[in-house]
Symmetry: C2
Subunit: 149 residues, 2 copies
DNA sequence: GCTGTCAATTAACAATTGTAAAGAAATGTA
DNA sequence: TACATTTCTTTACAATTGTTAATTGACAGC
């Protein structure tokens, strides 16, 4: 929850979660997570600072979770798992980088077309209003784009 | 250099470097780096994959550099340094997240105003054409925004 | 079936941004 | 200084996006 310190990390067995940011009452979707992905308000989970984001299930979910204290203990005691964890972090950073880059180089129309091509499951499973803010546009604008693509 | 595999990481003692992406001949500035910051085409440096980005000095620079092989050896042998390195990575990830978030929640005008407030050194030292693409807009649009702020 | 609620689309208009071209300002070089 | 080159700004117009409000569609509960 926004403002709270995130003490848990989750693994999604079934369902879909969105991470959103409260921008003066208007929520902005930052990321989606699906089956077999790990989720946390990571900046909070990692640093212990209050989270900017709120996690919210947009489908009924089956989750596994681990408390940060236990997680930290595992990282301390299992250097190989720690390695893997850092690799996951690095991979996620790469994905963010590419997603971000698309905001610099592509138009909203191109971003939607890319999403449709690269991650059609998102468009199938997520309400369009969330996809709109994920793409940095309004639902009205997304509707117009969908009409011509 | 774009397409090359990055084998070096740099530390900037003096000067300024920009990291840019070649988008069909038009270059798009992804990030700026200044004194006392580490730079690399990190996604390439980390993964060994060809880089999407090109590093370019936009001021005369004094740099220190380390070859990836030596860097990896240090990380292997000095777990404390490895810890610190991952912390730097995590901090950078946080910064990206905030920068990216501003593309979702702010207008170009607000992004420029934020930059002026939070990182005036960038505006002082970097040619405006690079700042424009860094903000995701054209130089013409940046010029209009500057006129009214 | 009917109704209420929320999501998505459509329409009309305002505001912003992009594009292309021209002009002004700054910088570098002989 | 004079000239060339590059950067930045300005202008005019086209295209896109945001805003507000109305309409349509989907769905749950009665």
């Amino acid at each position: 929850m926004e403002g709270d310190v995130s003490k848990k990390a989750y693994f999604i067995e079934k369902g879909c979660i969105r991470l959103w940011y409260n921008n003066n009452g208007k929520d902005i979707t930052f990321q989606f997570f699906f089956e077999n992905e790990g989720v946390s308000s990571f900046e909070s989970f990692n640093t212990g600072q209050p989270s900017l984001f709120t996690m919210e299930a947009i489908e009924p979910c089956v989750l596994q979770w681990i408390h940060k204290d236990d997680f930290d203990a595992v990282l301390r005691e299992e250097p190989l798992i720690k390695e893997d964890f850092y690799k996951v972090i690095a991979e996620r950073q790469m994905k963010y980088m590419h997603h971000f880059l698309s905001f610099l180089k592509d138009t909203p129309k191109q971003r939607y077309a890319n999403l449709l091509k690269e991650k059609p499951h998102i468009i199938k499973r997520v309400p369009l209003q969330y996809i709109a803010s994920y793409l940095g546009i309004t639902p009205v604008s997304l509707s117009r784009i969908r009409k011509i693509i």
